[in-house]
Amino acid sequence: MDSFARLLHLSPPLAWMALKLLIVIGGVMGIAAVLTWVERRGAAMMQDRIGPNRAGVKGITLLGLVQLAADGIKFFLKEDVVPPHGNRLLFTLAPALAFVPAMLGFAVIPFGQSFSSGGQAYHLSLLDPGNGMGMLYPLAIGSMAVYGILVASWSSNNKWAILGGMRSGANMVSYELGMSLAVISIFMAAGNSPVGSPVTLEAYDPHRIVEAQEGLWFAVRQPLGFLVFFTCMFAETNRLPFDFAEGESEIVAGFHTEYSSMKFALLQLSEYIHIVTASALLVTLYLGGWRIPFVPNPGVLLSVAAFLAKLLFLCWVFVWVRWTIPRFRYDQLMFLGWKVMLPLSMANLLLQAWLMHGRGIA
C-alpha cells in the first residue's frame, strides 16, 4: 500500500481512499449498467424470446452487451426536450437529485473483510467504521431519493407526472416506517461491540452488524424482519410489483413522462443504481455482508467475492420478480404498507426485544 501511495505522490490514507472511491463508484455504476443488460436478456429468457443481440462492432456483439454502448450513444444524440410550461431549473436538477442519493447510500457498506498491512488497518468501505452515522446514513439518504421523483414530477407540469409523483411520495412515507422498524431490531440484535475488542463499534455501525452475523445471518434470526425489509426494498426502488411512480400501463410513464435524452437515461440509471444499493443494504443487514458460512476469516479476495455474489443474486431477484408478477393497485399498496408491513415490523421488534429479555441481555 505504501509503495502504491508513493507512486501517486499521495499520503497512504488518501491513496487508499482514492482507490476505494474508484472501486465503489466504478463498481456500482458498472453493475448498474450491466444490470440493464441483465434485465433485457433475463426478461427475454423468461419470456421465451431472444432479446437484444444485434448491436455489435464488426460482428462482435458480446451477447448483446454492445447494445449498452449503442443505447448510451442514442441517448446522447436524442433531442433534449424541456416542457414549455415546466420549471426549467428543477426539471434539469431532478435527474441529479434522483441519481446522487442512490449512489451515496453505498458509502458505508462494507464490501469485504477489513485487513491490516504494515500495522495499519484497512477497511473495505468508503467511510471507516466508527464514523458515528453507521446504518442510519443510507436510510436517511435513501429517503432523499423521493425528492428526485417529486421534483421531476412537479417540474414537468404534466398531470400524469403529478399522479406519479403523488404516488411515489405516499409510497415512500408508508414504507419507510416499516423498513426503519425492521432495521431497528437489527440494531438491537447486533448490540455494541464487546468491551476489549480492537475498535468499539456502536450497534448501528454496518461493520458491527456484519461482525454480529458471524454465527447466524440475521435473515435466519429475524425472518419476519427480513421479509418486511425485502418487500419494502421493492417499494423503495420503485420496481414491480410496486412501480407506481412509473406505472407504465396506468399513468403513461409517471414521473418521467416528459423526460427525454440523457436526463431520461440518468433517471433510468438511477433506478438501477437504487437496485444495487438496496441489494447491498439487504446483504449487509440480513445476509451476512461479506461473510461466507462456516468460513470465519475468508480473507480480502474471498470476502469481496462473497459480497459480490450475494449482491448480484439479489439484483437478479429484482429482475426476476419484475417479469413474473403483476402490479399492485395504489390503494392496495397503502393498505399493505400501513396495515400489514408496519404491524409486522412492530411485532418483529417486540418479539426480538422479548427474546433478548428472555436471554437476559437487556
Binding site: Q47, M166, L240, S249, E250, P326
Partner: protein, 374 residues
Amino acid sequence: MFVFLEFLVFKTEEMEINLGPQHPSTHGVLRVKLRLDGETVVQCTPIIGYLHRGVEKICENKTWFQGQVWTDRMDYVAAVTNNLGWAEGVEKLFGIQVPRRAHYVRTLLAELNRIASHQLWLATHALDIGAMTVFLYCFRDREAILDIFEAFCGARLTTTAFRIGGLREDVPPGMDRMVRNFLKAFSTGIEEYETLLSENRIWKKRTVGVAKLQAKDAVALGITGPVLRAAGVPYDVRKAFPSAAYAEMDFQIATRPEADTYARYLVRLEEMRQSARIVQQCLDGLPEGPVMAKIPKILKSEVCEVYHSIEAPKGELGYYFVGEKGGANPYRMHVRAPSFVNLQALPKMTEGNLLADVIAAIGTLDVVLGEIDR
C-alpha cells in the same frame, strides 16, 4: 365560526385528464375523459371516433362480394369471425345453401380465431395490470394460429377467409397436422397462463371485485359476450341461434356468477378451452364433399332486409343488410359491433373506483377500436 381558520384547510379540486388517445393501455385510439379526485374517478366519458373510416358507407359502394374485405378491418384481431358474419348474412339474404364441409371449415377457423382473440385479450389485459410475461406467452401461442390462417388463405391478420357460398379453396394439405399440433401446444400453453395468473394473489387483488357489472345492468345496456356471461347470463349466439356447424358441435357455455374482472378472466379461459374442443370436433368430423355452392357471378338483390348475428369473440356481432331491386351492392349496411355496445358499460364499471381500475376495466371489456369506430 372558524372562518379565520379557513386558510388551514387544504383546497382540493378535481382534475380533468385525458386517458388516450395516445396512452399505452387504451388498446388503440380510445380516448377516455376522466374527472379525478386524487386518483378516484368521479366521471368517466369514453370518446370514440379516432379510427373512423366509414366502413358501413364504403360497403354500400362495394358489391356483395367485395364488402367482406372491409370486415377484416373492423375487429382486426378476429377477422375470420367478422368474415363469417358477413358471408352468412349475405347467404341468408340470397338463400344460398352452403355445403356442409364448408360449414365445418368455417367453424374450425372461426373458433381458432376466437382462441387467438382471447389470447390477445389476455396478453394485453395482463400487461395492463403489470404482468408482462403473460404477454409474450400468449403471443407465442397465437403465432401458431396465424400460421394456420396463412396456410389456409395466405393472410395472417386481414384474412378475407370465406366466399359467399362457401370457400374459395379447400383446406390445404398439411393443415390438419398444423391444427393438431396447435391443439397439443395450446393445452400446455393455457396451463402456463393459469400458473402465472389464476392463483396469483396480486392478480386476484387487482381483479376480484373490480369493475363489477351486474346482470341487470349488463342486459339493460345490451352487453353481450364474455362480459355478459361472466355476470351469470348464459347467452351465446352459437347456442341461441346456431349457424355454420355450431348446431352439430358439443360444447358448453362458460358462465360465472361473480360479474367482476376475475370472473371474466375465468370465463374467457374456459371459452378458449371450449373453442379448442370445437376445433377438435370439426377436425375429427370434417365431412367430405365440395366446399363451394353454385352461385352466379354477380349477385343482384331484391327489395329485402336481413339481420344476421354470430358470436364474435367480443360478443354478438350483427350484420344488417338492406337490398334494393337489382342491387349489386347493399343499399344500406349496418354493423352491430359488440365492442361498441360493450364500451357503454365503462362509466358504470369505473365511476367511484380508482384510476388503475379504469385500465383493468378497459382491458376486461376487450374492446377493439377498429370495430367501435368502423
